[in-house]
């Protein structure tokens, strides 16, 4: 068992040496989580916007459900996707199990409710401000939704960030549907879990450091964008 200090030193050496395996894992993690975030935004933002401006019977129940789904356990999502994609499952013929695509599907399902629920709140607040003006302008639903999405763009970046954070940090779903196969479906979180169980703390720590750096970098980029938007009163 290495000491933590040794592990940190090794981790830094791995990062600084540009270890190919390490960066392959990081690249796959980013590819999977960014794609999942993009797809979740494609589904979640319009759904959130629709829920923000619509009033219909049962809306309250739907909102409770949407909010509850934010807490979906990743392993449950992983299991459900696994059951669908396994050879005997309804989508088994696609042969997607243990591929990055399966991981993207699982993460999309995991974070789409987060994007939808958070964007609904952001857009509903904005709509309260705009609603009377928009009604006066006789805007249709499509014009209203697109205007709200555009005007809330900087706030929605934070919503996207929350989704990305959840995706890139989860391990339960991707390990079930991806299988943590070396050079194929191994991402940062699954690699950290594996290397820790093997006692190879250096690689685990190196990945952990990179994961933290990526999280910090993305947060800083979004925060600086929001600050620039705030200066122009666009937030």
């Amino acid at each position: 068992m290495q000491s933590i200090a040794d592990a940190f030193t090794l981790a830094l050496q791995l990062v600084l040496s540009g270890n190919a395996d390490l960066f392959e894992i990081v690249a796959l993690s980013l590819r999977v989580s960014l794609t999942a975030t993009f797809l979740a935004c494609l589904c979640g933002l319009p759904l959130g916007a629709f829920m923000a401006i619509s009033r219909f019977p049962g809306r309250g129940i739907l909102l409770v459900l949407m909010n509850a789904l934010m807490g979906l356990p990743p392993v449950v999502v992983g299991l459900l996707v696994y059951l669908h994609l396994s050879r005997s499952g309804p989508l088994g013929f696609l042969g997607l199990l243990y591929t990055p695509t399966a991981m993207i599907i699982a993460q999309t399902i995991l974070i789409a409710p987060i994007i939808a629920a958070l964007s609904r709140q952001v857009l509903e607040d904005l709509h309260m401000e705009y609603a009377e003006q928009f009604r006066s302008l006789c805007l249709n639903q499509w014009q209203t939704v697109t205007a709200l999405l555009w005007d809330a763009r900087y706030s929605l970046l934070t919503v996207g960030l929350a989704g990305f954070g959840r995706a890139v940090a989860e391990v339960g779903a991707v390990i079930i549907v991806g299988g943590n196969i070396d050079h194929l479906t191994r991402v940062m979180t699954t690699a950290i879990a594996l290397e820790t169980s093997k006692g190879d703390l250096a690689l685990a720590l190196a990945l952990g450091l990179l994961l933290l750096t990526i999280a910090l970098g993305v947060n800083a980029a979004v925060q600086s964008l929001r600050m620039s938007a705030r200066r122009q009163a666009y937030v």
């Binding site: 003006q133 006066s136 302008l137 805007l139 555009w150 005007d151 122009q232």
Partner: protein, 252 residues
């Protein structure tokens, strides 16, 4: 905006409003209640096709509610509103409302106008003419929400005019603005009126009503207490409430 002189009216750039065929307005027995409590009742009103009507009255008299009812933003509890044969909801598309507190999109000044032009299917090339018209051409690229109160209201007015309305509603559009800003807004409104747009404004500003209005509707306690030509209203108000209001006495 330092003076009226900077407002360049460009009559050829902005299409003239067609003679308003939403008029005349006929309101019969209009009433509005919230939780059983009447806030407007027995409102009967006839307005002709041209000019500017000021709706005046003390706070809580129902002026803004009447304006929103006429525009179709809220539905009456009783009675009917008839805009040249159309309901208020049907006529709304050919009307525009400028609110007391302008609701500006989180975009540039020009993008605020462009948004309305696109939504209404009007030529986007009108944007510059409209900004010129309200004296905001120099600020086209600035964020709209960083404009001063007077500039923001002029932008809201330009946006309303971008819809090419037959009827323009102003809900205390100059409240809390400085005199120069008030004057510039009034000039734009007078121009619109001269081009055939029917203007109906709610105002507490007696001076403004004198300058702009052709007729005055005086509301008190949710009812029309008086409706007369502006000259008559200001020289010889018919009701005690209107007389007290004009003399600055407390009207409850």
């Amino acid at each position: 905006m330092s003076s009226l002189g900077t407002i360049a009216f460009t009559p050829n750039a902005i299409p003239q409003a067609a003679a308003p065929n939403l008029m005349p307005l006929r309101v019969r027995d209009l009433g509005l209640s919230f939780e059983g409590e009447a806030v407007l009742s027995g409102v009967n009103l006839d307005l002709g096709p041209h000019g500017c009507t000021a709706i005046m009255g003390p706070n809580g008299a129902g002026k803004s509610l009447l304006l929103k009812l006429l525009h179709g933003l809220i539905s009456p509890t009783t009675g009917e509103i008839n805009w040249g044969g159309q309901t208020a909801a049907a006529a709304m598309a050919r009307q525009a409302l400028v609110f007391q507190k302008p609701v500006l999109l989180r975009r540039s000044v020009a993008a605020n106008i462009d948004f309305v032009l696109r939504a209404k299917g009007r030529p986007r090339s009108l944007c510059n003419a409209l900004l010129d018209h309200v004296g905001l051409a120099q600020k086209a690229r600035q964020p709209a929400r960083l404009l001063s109160g007077g500039e923001a209201q002029r932008l809201a007015l330009a946006r309303a005019l971008a819809t090419e309305p037959d009827v323009l509603f102003l809900d205390e559009a100059t409240a809390s603005l400085d005199p120069a800003s008030i004057l510039s807004i009034e000039t734009i409104v007078r121009d619109a009126c001269a081009r055939g747009v029917r203007v109906i404004c709610v105002t507490h500003d007696i001076g403004q009503a004198r300058r702009l209005a052709d007729d005055v509707v005086f509301l008190q306690g949710g009812r029309i207490a008086e409706h007369s030509a502006a000259r008559d209203f200001f020289s010889a108000p018919q009701t005690t409430a209107a007389r007290d209001y004009l003399n600055g006495r407390l009207v409850l």
